[in-house]
Amino acid sequence: MELRIDWDNALERSSRRAAQATLLRARSAGLVDVGYSVADSPVGRLLVASTRVGLVRLEFLEGGIDDLLDELSDALSPRVIEDASRTEAARRQLDAYFEGRVRRFRTPLDWSLAPEGFSRRVLERTAEIPFGSVSTYGDVAKRAGSPRAARAAGNALHDNPIPIVVPCHRVVPTGGGIGKYGGQEWRKEFLLRLEGALED
């Protein structure tokens, strides 16, 4: 008795099409907790992820996105689905920023991935540093309420879940130089130059 099904291309195509139709319905039924896209930018490909609240995660992609999606699934909800319309507002602002048309991001933020307490305050104060200017680790620590916690502020910025939009690249060491950057230093330099905060 032969009950095996031929595994043919038609079935592969059919299941892919059915999967896409399912995701379409999932989006319109409001079942997406975390919607993500991969976007191109002058600093490389970016993972952009948004909840219903707002932009929750932005990350420079060096390789695949699997690990990042796993993190989102663990930390927020496993209902992680590719969703270009969910991330559209944030992606448009990023495009405008890189084209020099936007100096201040107005996209709503979801701070869920920033640990509450000192780290969150450091990131919130960092979000207030204006386009084109820089601050120091010590200064950000002070404004977050702990003047002597410059190193801890540096750690909080290194773990910034929403770089570029929460501009941790605008925080530099007191002693000069541009300092470290979680997303590799050439990107920090690129962003500071883009904003005219770095002399040639």
Binding site: L3, A19, A26, S73, R79, I81
Partner: protein, 160 residues
Amino acid sequence: MSPTKTGLPPFQRLLEEHRADVYRFLVAAVGRHAADDCFQETFLSALRAYPRLRDKSNLRGWLLTIATRKTLDHWRAERRRPIPVERVPERAAPERDGRDPDLWRAVRALPAMQRAAVIHRYVLDLPYAQVAQALGTSEEAARANAYEGRRKLRQMQEVT
């Protein structure tokens, strides 16, 4: 939405990894025509329940359980329908997935539980423990249903 640390794969990947198996089961169980609808219902139900899922050890089995429930729903609804007109075109354009369209017609003529058991055991090649899980029965009942279904199929094949 709460910080749960579920360890579940992102739903996008769950769908990508298992869509082929689920689709294959559904084509075997309800035919190509109804497979799409059952597929969407299966994964939408899965998505609704996903954040509350505790046992992540057998996600494929979990999805096939939901798919089985959807096929049972579909069969019940179809029984209530008067004449299965939609069956007619199948003769002109036989299913391309099975090598033996008569056999598939025979499979779909089996009682619901036997049909599900046969498909899970002999098409998807699942061990009886998983057949039982998908059917929501004991392993013995799963075994009996698969055995009885297979016996009837052989009978039907001998007749034709």
